[in-house]
Symmetry: C2
Amino acid sequence: MSDLSVGSLDRPRITYEDRERLHGHGGALVWFTGLSGSGKSTIANAVDHTLYTQQRHSVILDGDVVRTGLCNDLGFSPNDRMENIRRIGEVGRLFAQTGTIALVAVIAPYGASRDAVRKAMRPGRFIEVHVDAPLSVCEARDPKGLYKKARAGIIKNFTGLDAPYEVPIEPELRLDTSVLSPDEAAAKVIAVLQSRELI
Amino acid sequence: MSDLSVGSLDRPRITYEDRERLHGHGGALVWFTGLSGSGKSTIANAVDHTLYTQQRHSVILDGDVVRTGLCNDLGFSPNDRMENIRRIGEVGRLFAQTGTIALVAVIAPYGASRDAVRKAMRPGRFIEVHVDAPLSVCEARDPKGLYKKARAGIIKNFTGLDAPYEVPIEPELRLDTSVLSPDEAAAKVIAVLQSRELI
């Protein structure tokens, strides 16, 4: 927020460096992208628990939750999905700028949308995690019963069935959740944050 | 975020109480509402400095900054202004839920919009601060040259001139910035946070 000076403020803005110093760690935006049922929220939650135990400040921005609030005016058309990703990206960026580690668990099916969020972040602060599991595995899990509804035609434009999912080309991490446990997957995310010296 | 359970997460969500314990203080949304030039951003910035000195975690959500990001698709029609306030309210609520003190410096001319944000917050966590100064004082300050442009007809629908500002009926605080210095005003905001035992 420190890059825009607005009117006279008497004192300069507190910078993101100041806030990170106060937090004792860096801010970042970790985006868990993947099909419904791939395990995005579960891994984000496991990472959140680990960070909490380490006294790091984090937040989970979950697609289902955000859609009941910030994005409750949006549907699932391509344009609305892009706007959904854009807004969540902006909120994640705001959190990252205050030194918080934002854990975004949102399908985000379009590569261009994810890349736009990456470009808006400071270098190294966007961590794209492809939560990857075969469609058949995601559909067998079907934790919210959404695949069943989509197959029955009750839900239209369902990612992976009748709407596309663009696989990340160069994600920071690819986690095959048909093999890895949530804790194993979370440990790999923590390792990326450590390797970037954010925590 | 802990009120919505989404699929199976293995472990329960970290709650806002957990996050506030980690921060060592409560989360809140302080909304500075008032005319352009009334001193909203200046006071928010002074409060931010005080909180930072006390090692509290805060964030400034400034109208001008948010409009370059989260709300860059919105104009200044009544509907767009309402949507602007709604989104900023949602973001402020997310910050407050993580135990951060969100300082929102946004005109927010409509009482109904501000009340909707208040209703979405936990009781006592919304603090409405009417940054009040006579229009003539705000116009004489004109820190961004906006009144000049509005008087010249270059800017339309300018709050206080050809667009309405609905004065808060029962704000937590009213600060007459034609009398109070920014530091005096900030001290009053800090006192409200203390009286609510948030800090």
